[in-house]
Every structure is written in structure tokens, then in C-alpha cells.
């Protein structure tokens, strides 16, 4: 697969056949609460291509991590109900059993977790933790594995791989630990890397370095990266495409330029407006009214964002909000984005 891809890119032809290697079709994940199932994500449709970073952005509780764990198959079948189809290079991941899934996890799909300390085993040396993935998925010799570990540590920007390989997680700084996690995730050159809030626990300077590492790795491996984050700045700096999620649904999807330069959905616009910006240093920040509905109270019909923009008349919303294409590759849910204005822009009362 990767050979085809390289050939195609070298020839300067766009990689149509190999590009769409992950297709998420109409996926819903419901959790059981008090004997009843509630949708944490509902009817998500997404495609991930090779050589791109797709950012999924949203506030806590919007379902972005659930989407990641659904792709990785990390849910207890007794407590969750997953419907839909996740087509990964021709296989429907959701039909796989545990053994089948293990063929993919760590090999073709790598995952980077938010908290590097709890994702590492405190009792094992870094080298053993990185080569563990290779024990399962490759038949490399011991020496080959050792060489690969050093190569990986070097690739993620660790200055002294020899030394770090012998160390334990507690001896490393937060940024180094996150680099090790990335090294584990890319050990088998996965086609898909899922990074769940990879820089949230880190300082800004370290964050910038880690994002650089991710971008370089994506270029080298021609991998597709799903970057899950709540930080719009991180998205604007790294992502090629952006999916904005609200209350378990994708509300806006487009290239980074489209979403940041011409945001359409009221939620995206509200989020961008509530960021502290250089221009409005002394003004109050914009506050989105109300709260994200909890799982049990999630409305099953109508626009889920409607209660938070109460000044928009009900007629502006769709009964069953669907995605509308506003530009090639740029989709927005519901019709309420048309003519949407903030109250103060209409000359009304500020929210």
C-alpha cells in the first residue's frame, strides 16, 4: 500500500485510490446508563486520507474522545452499542473480534494518549516499552529491535537515545515522556495515528516541539493523523482539515483555511469569538449561553445547538439537521448558519 502511495506522489498524481484509507460511515456509539442506551456520538461521517492531519475539535463532553476510542475498539461490548461502519483499508473494524482488532492496534493504528505518565508502565524501562509493540507485530531479531528503538527515539527528537532507552518513565520530563509515547505509537509505522489531546498536559514551548514531531512523522510515514484537541490554536497551527464537534455530532467540516477564515456554523463562530484575542484586550469575552446538554438530556430531534442561540427563530433551524455543502469540502450542519448574527451585531442586547 505504501509503495503504491509513494509511486503516486512521486509521479505528481493525486492519490485517489489509496487516499481514503479510513472511512467512518454513520457511526453512533451509545453508552448504557441505568439500563438505557444514550448516544455519545451520533451518525458521524468522516474520511481520513493519507498525508493529512485531521483535527477533531470541541469542548469536553462533545464526544471527540469517544470517537477515538470507538475507532480503536476500546469499548466494553456489554456497556456500549456501536452501529455503523468503520472501513479501514477495506476491513470493517466494527465487525472484528478482540483478536482481530489486536492485529490492527499498535500495528496499523497507533494511539497517543493525553497523560503520558499514566500511559507508561512505571516498572519497565523505556526500551522494553517501545519494543513490546514490536514483539507482538513483527518478527525482528533482538538486535534489530534494539536498533529500531534507538532510531525511533532519535526520530521523536530525544537527544541521547542510548541513555533514555535505559531509563524509567519517572526519570523523564513530561515532554520526553510524550515523545516516548509517540515513539511507541509509530514503532510499527502505522497508517493511522490517533492523537488524543497529545499536548494538553505540556508547556507551550514543549507543545510546539511535540506538534513539530507529529508533523514530521506524518510526512515521513505518509500516515494519516487524527488530532483530537480542544485548543483552537493547536488546530490552526497543525491541522490540514478540521471537524468541529458539538454534542456528539460534527457540526462543521472543512479545510483549516475554510473553518478559520470563513467559519459558518454558529458554534464554530461562537468558539472563535470566546477566545482571548489581541484586538479585544479590554473587552469582555463572548460567552456562549447555557451548557452542553448531558447525555441523558440530549435532544433527539432538531438542532442541538439551538438552545444556546435562543435569539435565532425556530424557523431558521431544520427539523432533522443535515450537513450542507457551502463550498467544495466545506460542510455545515443545519440551515441556521444562514443569516446568523450575534445579538450585538444586530444592535440587540449583548449575550
Amino acid at each position: 500500500m505504501r509503495d503504491i502511495l509513494e509511486k503516486n506522489t512521486l509521479g505528481g498524481i493525486s492519490v485517489d485510490t489509496a487516499a481514503n484509507f479510513l472511512t467512518i460511515k454513520d457511526v453512533s456509539t451509545a453508552f448504557k446508563i441505568n439500563g438505557q442506551f444514550y448516544d455519545a456520538i451520533s451518525h458521524v461521517n468522516l474520511q481520513v486520507h493519507h498525508d493529512e492531519i485531521l483535527a477533531i475539535v470541541g469542548e469536553s463532553g462533545c464526544g471527540k474522545s469517544t470517537l477515538a476510542t470507538t475507532i480503536m475498539g476500546l469499548h466494553d461490548a456489554a456497556e456500549t452499542k456501536i452501529t455503523g461502519e468503520i472501513d479501514f483499508e477495506g476491513t470493517d473494524l466494527l465487525q472484528l473480534d478482540e483478536d482481530g482488532y489486536n492485529q490492527y492496534r499498535g500495528d496499523k493504528i497507533g494511539m497517543i494518549f493525553q497523560d503520558p505518565l499514566s500511559a507508561l508502565n512505571p516498572l519497565k524501562r523505556i526500551e522494553d516499552q517501545i519494543s513490546e509493540v514490536m514483539d507482538y507485530h513483527t518478527d525482528l531479531s533482538k538486535d534489530a529491535k534494539h536498533a529500531r528503538v534507538l532510531e525511533l527515539l532519535d526520530q521523536v527528537g530525544i537527544v541521547n537515545p542510548q541513555r533514555t532507552a535505559r531509563q524509567f518513565p519517572h526519570e523523564l520530563s513530561g515532554g520526553m515522556r510524550q515523545r516516548v509515547i509517540i515513539a511507541i505509537a509509530i514503532a510499527c509505522k502505522p497508517d493511522l495515528i490517533i492523537a488524543d489531546e497529545p499536548t494538553t498536559a505540556l508547556d507551550v514551548t514543549i507543545q510546539a516541539q511535540i506538534l513539530d514531531v507529529l508533523r514530521d512523522i506524518q510526512k515521513e510515514n505518509h500516515a494519516g493523523i487524527i488530532l483530537i484537541t480542544h485548543d483552537l490554536g493547536v488546530v490552526a497551527e497543525t491541522a490540514d482539515r478540521v471537524a468541529v464537534m458539538y454534542a456528539g455530532q460534527i457540526v462543521e467540516l472543512g479545510s483549516a483555511e475554510q473553518v478559520f477564515n470563513t467559519p459558518e456554523h454558529p458554534y464554530t463562530r461562537s468558539l472563535l469569538r470566546s477566545m482571548p484575542q489581541r484586538e479585544n484586550e479590554n473587552d469582555d469575552l463572548y460567552v456562549i449561553k447555557g451548557n452542553v446538554p448531558s447525555l441523558q438530556k440530549m435532544p433527539s430531534q432538531g438542532d442541538r445547538f439551538a438552545p444556546r442561540i435562543p435569539w435565532v427563530p425556530a424557523s431558521a433551524h431544520e427539523e432533522h439537521p443535515s450537513m450542507h455543502e457551502v463550498a467544495p469540502g466545506h460542510e455545515v450542519r443545519c440551515t441556521c448558519y444562514k443569516n446568523f448574527q450575534f445579538p450585538d451585531q444586530q444592535g440587540g442586547v449583548t449575550a
Binding site: 469542548e59 469536553s60 490554536g233 497551527e237 470566546s274 469575552l285
Partner: protein, 324 residues
């Protein structure tokens, strides 16, 4: 006169080792910092993790044993416990914590949580106390039925506002806010920040705003101090720090803030890497031989930077600032 004057504050933690378990070395968490907090203003303290900013905050509230130096409040040094009691310092200075869940007692109802500082300092009657708590809940925008709920029944933003209500209960003059919004979502963060500004306007409260998020600090603070390895690297007004940073560490921090302008992505990245390169190569120029920061040098009435005198003035001239 400033509200609080911090002079040459040092907090060192001893490292004990050897057979007699003697003090052999110390971790210099805070190593000689000096700054003033004016009444009614928000003072920003910025630094990466491990820079000593939280330790500074804790020392100012009196939670940390200070090794040397003084914190002057109302003409008295409050690093001494007796002075704190005399001045009712613990009533005038309150704290908002980063993690709202762990800073609220899970077994107590909101009524008791908010009333605790009142019970310590005000000795109100039952009815007055309840009235005051209701008033406080109203200020932070929570309903009266919150009184009998427990912390876990609230969302993160609401809990942080309860923390704020508790902090303002005794009408303090200064609130130490240690990363008050770093655990919150964007929209909730906006709520809490707006609200902090509102009560500042209403009650003239000063804040010591401790954060690593330079975007939030720019929004909140008039004066900013950048901290690195226990020392202050640069002090100045918002204008000084964001538009004319002098120290390479400040420049590096500023360059690392992600920009939301997608069109400038490549340019922003290039400038960040350039700054990073200078930071790596010119350590000896910006730090002394023990790789510690130099003492602060004043380059304009509001702006000081931790560099040798000549370099500081030379850089300031390049930046086109008026010399002091």
C-alpha cells in the same frame, strides 16, 4: 504605596542526604524575586511548569514557609505569622485554585463551603450568614437551590465559580488566582474570566494571576512578570512584554503561543524556529555562567529585564524604547 510589596523573596527546599541526614543542598524554587502588586490591578505571573510561580503564589497567601525576604502588606512583614494575625491578613487575601473539584470538600454542601471563611472571620448570625451566602451565589450567577447541593453535582465552570464565591466571601483586597481557568473549556473560561473582571470593577479587588497561558494573561493583566528557574526574567506592562520583549526566554514563550491565523502558519512557524535557535545557541549571552538569570536591569520606567546592563540597554535601543 503598593498593596503588597514582595522583596527578595526566597523559598528553598532543603535536600537531605548522608548518614546524619544533614542538609547538603537545596532546591531553589523561588530565588530572590521582587515585585509590587498595586491596588485594583491584575498582576500576571507567567512561567513554565517548575518555574516557581505557584510557590510564589503560595508564599504570598502564607501557605509556604519563606526562606528569606519579605512580603510587606500595610507596612508589616507578613511572612511572620503574628503579623498575619494582627492584620487580619488571611481574611484580606484569598486564593482561587486550579482544580476546582479537589479544592472543594466533597462531603460539604455548597452552603457550608461558601460560609466557611465567613464563619472564620465574620461571626454572623445564622440568618445573616445565609443571606450573605445567597448574595454571593447571586454574584457568581448560581441559583439559590445550589445551597444544598454537593460539589460533584456541578459542572467544571460552575465549580470554579463556587471557588470564586468562596474567595470573595470576606471582601478580600487581594486574590491569588493560581491557574484559575486552565482546566476549563473555552466557553466556560470566557465566563470565569469575564466574571473575575466584573467583581474587580465592583469591589476593586487586586489579583495575582498565575498562569502559563500567555493569551489569557494578555487579556487579564496590566502588569506582567515572566518567571524562569525561580527568578524573574522580565517585568513590564502588557505593552512592554507583548510588543517589546527583550529577553530571549520571553520571546521564546511568545513565539510558542499557537496562532489562530491559518494564513500565517508557515511564517509563524519559521519565526518560532528562529527564536528557538537563538535560545539554544546564545544561552551564555542571556544567562550567567551557572546558567542562572542575571539581576533585573531597568530599561524604562515600567520595563525591567534580567540581563547584563550593556546588553539590556543595547537591546532596548534596538527595540526603540525610551531609556530611563
Amino acid at each position: 504605596m503598593s498593596l503588597v510589596e514582595i522583596k527578595d523573596l526566597k523559598v528553598h527546599y532543603p535536600i537531605r542526604s548522608g548518614f546524619w541526614n544533614r542538609v547538603t543542598d537545596s532546591v531553589k524554587a523561588v530565588d530572590g524575586i521582587t515585585f509590587n502588586i498595586e491596588a485594583g490591578e491584575t498582576y500576571g505571573l507567567v512561567g513554565e511548569s517548575g518555574s516557581g510561580k505557584s510557590t510564589t503564589g503560595k508564599s504570598v497567601v502564607g501557605l509556604e514557609k519563606v526562606t528569606s525576604g519579605s512580603i510587606m502588606y500595610d507596612g508589616k512583614d507578613i511572612t511572620e505569622r503574628a503579623n498575619r494575625r494582627k492584620l487580619d491578613y488571611n481574611r484580606d487575601v484569598q486564593m482561587i485554585f486550579q482544580d476546582s473539584l479537589s479544592s472543594l470538600n466533597p462531603r460539604k454542601r455548597i452552603e457550608d463551603i461558601i460560609a466557611e471563611p465567613l464563619r472564620n472571620f465574620e461571626h454572623l448570625s445564622k440568618e445573616d450568614e445565609k443571606l450573605r451566602v445567597l448574595q454571593l451565589l447571586d454574584i457568581v450567577g448560581l441559583d439559590a437551590d445550589a445551597l444544598y447541593k454537593y460539589p460533584h453535582q456541578f459542572s467544571g465552570g460552575q465549580r470554579q465559580r463556587i471557588g470564586v464565591a468562596r474567595a470573595v466571601a470576606t471582601n478580600p483586597k487581594l486574590i491569588i488566582a493560581d491557574e484559575p481557568v486552565s482546566a476549563l473549556d473555552l466557553s466556560v473560561q470566557a465566563q470565569v474570566l469575564n466574571f473575575m473582571k466584573k467583581i474587580q470593577r465592583q469591589f476593586g479587588i487586586s489579583y495575582l494571576f498565575i498562569s502559563h497561558d500567555l493569551g489569557v494573561v494578555r487579556h487579564m493583566c496590566n502588569n506582567i512578570a515572566i518567571m524562569n528557574r525561580g527568578r524573574l526574567i522580565e517585568i513590564g506592562t502588557r505593552e512592554d512584554i507583548y510588543n517589546h520583549p527583550l529577553h530571549i526566554y520571553t520571546k521564546r514563550l511568545l513565539a510558542a503561543i499557537p496562532e489562530t491565523n491559518v494564513n500565517q502558519r508557515a511564517a509563524h512557524r519559521a519565526s518560532r524556529l528562529a527564536v528557538e535557535k537563538i535560545y539554544d545557541e546564545q544561552q551564555s549571552k542571556y544567562y550567567d555562567e551557572n546558567s542562572e538569570a542575571y539581576p533585573l536591569v531597568q530599561v524604562s520606567p515600567t520595563h525591567s529585564v534580567a540581563l547584563p546592563e550593556e546588553i539590556a540597554h543595547q537591546l532596548a535601543n534596538q527595540e526603540g524604547e525610551v531609556q530611563a
